[in-house]
């Protein structure tokens, strides 16, 4: 195979680099010589810390993906946004009711939604973000919760929104209010909490705390892994 086929040119902060074409964006950046000290996150597609905006040559669309998941394309211009500046209102779940009106009163920007759907286009998790916001206007909290289960709070939607909605924070409140007040309580959790409070695991924890680091590593490697 020729080098042309296996290598691709990508642009990191505007500078061209030739990198193997099978790498993820994150690995390609590292291949190019950058070292992630922060903003690389879990490398597993779960944490939303490696949000990357990119454009491919000759395409007007601005795309968003997670750097640890997306395989590079030739002619990709990339920029990473590991942190999205956003206002975070303070709310007290204990003083709230699980209604869409309550969510809207904490995040009144929701009512500015223009229905442009740019948020949905920006979502690396393929969540129907606009539908989830509009469901709140329709009084349908459950739908918002269902649609946004996969949200990793990367914030790409919010940085693209012309109405300055911070969707990921809205959804977090919606899910927490729904989880606390609407969903059935998990019985096994209550039982486990009782066990913990009654001191069932105190002795074991104490023993672990007194174990040396090397022994801990051994115990960790031999640990029981939960079945799938």
């Amino acid at each position: 195979m020729t080098e042309k086929k296996t290598m691709a040119t990508i642009y990191i902060m505007g500078k061209a680099y030739k990198v193997p074409s099978t790498l993820t964006i994150m690995k390609a950046i590292e291949y190019a010589g950058y070292r992630f000290i922060r903003g690389c996150g879990c490398r597993g597609g779960f944490c939303g810390a490696c949000t990357t905006f990119y454009r491919v040559k000759n395409d007007y669309k601005l795309n968003v993906d997670l750097a640890c998941q997306k395989i590079i394309e030739d002619g990709m211009y990339i920029v990473q946004l590991p942190f999205i500046p956003a206002e975070k209102p303070i709310w007290d779940l204990n003083k709230m009711k699980p209604t869409t009106d309550e969510v809207i009163s904490v995040f009144p920007e929701i009512t500015r939604c223009l229905s442009c759907n740019v948020c949905t286009a920006a979502c690396p998790q393929d969540i129907e973000v606009m539908r989830a916001i509009q469901a709140l206007r329709r009084g349908d909290l459950e739908k918002t919760v269902d649609l946004t289960f996969d949200c990793i709070a990367c914030g790409a939607c919010s940085i693209r929104c012309p109405a300055e909605i911070t969707h990921y924070q809205v959804f977090q409140l919606a899910r927490r209010a729904y989880g606390k007040y609407v969903m059935p309580k998990a019985k096994h959790v209550e039982e486990r909490i009782k066990e913990i409070e009654s001191g069932k695991f105190d002795e074991e924890i104490q023993r672990l705390m007194e174990t040396s680091v090397d022994n801990l590593k051994g115990i960790y490697e031999k640990r029981e892994i939960e079945p799938e």
């Binding site: 939604c113 223009l114 229905s115 509009q134 009084g139 349908d140």
Partner: protein
């Protein structure tokens, strides 16, 4: 067996949050009249206030997305009629639909922007439930009455959104200078409409947020005028008007207050269906009638 006619239905946010009784009573009334309201799937907020700038396409995307969903659903159930209850939603949807019908450029721009849904073909007909009732014929209502509201004096409050802006074949659901559609409806349920000069005055609208004194000044006039004509209740078709008449403007003397109900609640009561009125108000209705009959 009653044959149910299906029409598309756009509820709007206020009916799902602040005033569910408006929607619930409307469902009851329509069931009695053989109308099935089919809620548009995944409708978006209408945009609340239509843009006054002719080229501000962006403000109308929400309405158009709802039209597209309505168009798809309408094909499935065989109708192109979209019914609204909220006056504001009616006003916005009607105006946006008219723009799209009359301005092919605007339609093209909107359809090009919405690249994640099918194109909108402006064939939907946006009507207010009052229009539809009139078309069915108020005399049909009279036939179905089982609880005529005799002796009840009702002030018909139109507000702005049902009648303005005045444009031939446009927004107004009736004569914009002297509408009578609500009066006819009130008569058809056996009640007595009162004529009061402020029936088309603006309630102050969204000024309730930042300039509540404007709303206070206006609603005092409207309620005072209905009161001086001895109205027992006011009927409205607008959640925001209802809110302003009931709660807008901080210092309105509550002893001067007249109950405000949605026209669908009045209809449901007369048709012997559940009107979703507050219990207290139900009693007042009965008392009023007993006193007057």
């Amino acid at each position: 067996m009653v044959i149910m006619v299906k029409v598309l239905y756009y509820p709007g946010c206020s009916l799902k949050n602040t005033y569910p009784e408006f929607e619930k009573s409307a469902y009851e009334v329509c069931k009695k009249l053989g109308l099935e309201l089919v809620e548009i799937p995944d409708w978006n907020c209408c945009g609340v206030v239509p843009s006054l700038a002719a080229d501000n396409v962006m403000r109308h995307i929400g309405a158009v997305r709802s039209f597209i969903n309505a168009q798809e659903k309408g094909r499935e159930i065989g109708t192109n009629i979209v019914v609204t209850l909220c006056s504001m939603c009616y006003n916005v949807l009607k105006r946006v639909n008219l723009i799209l019908k009359e301005e092919p450029d605007m339609l093209e721009t909107v359809n090009a922007f919405i690249d994640d849904q099918p194109d909108y073909i402006p064939e939907l007909k946006i009507v207010h439930l009052l229009n539809l009732l009139k078309e069915i014929g108020f005399e049909k209502l009279e036939e179905k009455l089982n609880n005529p509201l005799r002796g009840l004096k009702v002030a018909p409050y139109y507000g702005c959104a049902l009648l303005r802006p005045n444009k031939p074949d446009g927004v107004p659901i009736d004569d914009p200078e002297n509408p009578t559609i609500l009066e006819n409806l009130i008569k058809s349920v056996g009640a007595e409409p009162v004529d009061f000069p402020f029936k088309m005055e603006c309630c102050g609208n969204y000024h309730v947020v930042f300039e509540p004194n404007i709303v206070e000044m206006r609603t005092k006039k409207i309620i005072g005028s209905a009161r001086s004509e001895k109205a027992d209740i006011i009927v409205s078709s607008c959640p925001l008007c209802t809110y302003n008449l009931e709660r807008g403007g901080g210092t309105v003397d509550r002893s001067e207050q007249i109950p405000v109900v949605f026209f669908t609640q009045l209809l449901a009561l007369a048709l012997g269906a559940e009107p979703y009125l507050p219990t207290e108000l139900n009693i007042n209705f009965k008392r009023n009638r007993r006193r007057k009959v």
